[in-house]
Symmetry: C2
Subunit: 220 residues, 2 copies
């Protein structure tokens, strides 16, 4: 963990060691997210429930997104994948997004936990609600903002996400072959153009090297 200015420890339980405090905050975060959802919970309300000062929460966790990752026990940060993909030209955003997701999911440390978290997100109940709000706020909104002020930026972000989510489902959850064993480069060459097309309506979709022989052409 990075060194930081020492936070006030006013609210810290006496005699508790570092791990105890962190676990206490996490338990409080899980309870707050469960009761109030991702948006309804705040660092302040989590600190209050844990009986610590809000600055102590910030000492251990950068933000709410970091708390979500710890609460669902997934060392995967979709918000960071998106933030990282957003750096760079919009014309290649589709590829960067897809590559970031593939790289993260294919890490052996991540895959089982990420699969479990996705299954939770698909179900119902407090965890599903929290992850739903988290995805909407930290992924969809950010992606849409980067697409500028198109009236349909939100929709474009969702359609791009739908293609990425679909690849996750077929590759990691259903594990259909050959997709489950394909290299990242192959997947990117096949799928990134579709993601990019959703995002900006541009890209090398018709110029790709993987274009097969076709029976007839609608495109001139």
């Amino acid at each position: 963990m990075e060194e930081r200015a020492q936070p006030r420890r006013r609210g810290r339980p006496r005699g508790a060691n570092r791990d105890d405090t962190k676990a206490r905050i996490l338990a409080a975060a899980a309870a707050e997210f469960g009761e109030h959802g991702y948006e309804g919970a705040s660092i302040r309300s989590i600190a209050r429930r844990a009986g610590v000062d809000p600055s102590l929460v910030h000492h251990y966790f950068d933000d709410k997104a970091a708390l979500v990752a710890e609460v669902v026990a997934v060392p995967l940060r979709p918000d960071r994948i998106v933030a990282s993909a957003l750096e760079g030209p919009v014309d290649e955003l589709g590829e960067r997004l897809l590559r970031g997701v593939l790289t993260a999911w294919d890490s052996p440390a991540v895959r089982p936990a990420a699969t479990a978290a996705l299954r939770s997100a698909i179900g119902q109940g407090p965890v599903a609600r929290m992850l739903h709000e988290f995805l909407r706020r930290e992924i969809m909104h950010r992606l849409a903002s980067r697409l500028g002020d198109h009236a349909d930026a939100e929709l474009r972000a969702e359609l791009a996400a739908s293609q990425v989510v679909g690849v996750i489902m077929v590759r990691y959850i259903l594990a259909f072959e050959p997709l489950a064993s394909l290299s990242h480069d192959e997947i990117v060459s096949r799928v990134a153009p579709a993601v990019q097309w959703h995002l900006t309506g541009t890209g090398p979709v018709l110029d790709t090297a993987v274009r097969p022989a076709k029976n007839s052409a609608h495109d001139e």
Copy 2:
């Protein structure tokens, strides 16, 4: 139900009425699918477990796919959606597939049960295993066959499916707006070109009317 030649009733339990027999067959099918999976179970093994003649199973259910739909209690037949989409030119297969899925899912009689079935399919256990095999055999293989003898027909079918599955996830499961409320026509105009591109590498992807202003163009 269509009239057919009267099957032999040798194995039919005496005194049981039509509903009893059907329920008995369904219970046997659920047990067989659970123990042996979709591919491992057969009409014959289901009949044997139910204590009826195989012809009686065929009297009530067209095929294994029909039994799956009844076992998971979903009045949705993905195998029929695909079969129906496969009729007609391959150049418009993407649109027919997407439209078929949207029309089926948006039926109020289908949506809750289909959502529950998808959640089961994503989980683990016998139901997940059965649905996984069912999807692979009845959807992926059929779709790939229609794409001809491209070496990568299986992969193309999976990538097309990934886009369709992704739309299901974002529209029906996560229910993100605006996608959750979009009309079928709007979704088709946005998504079918990507599905079609996965299938055949052709289509009006760059000629679409929804193409927004772009910052720069990679396509000449």
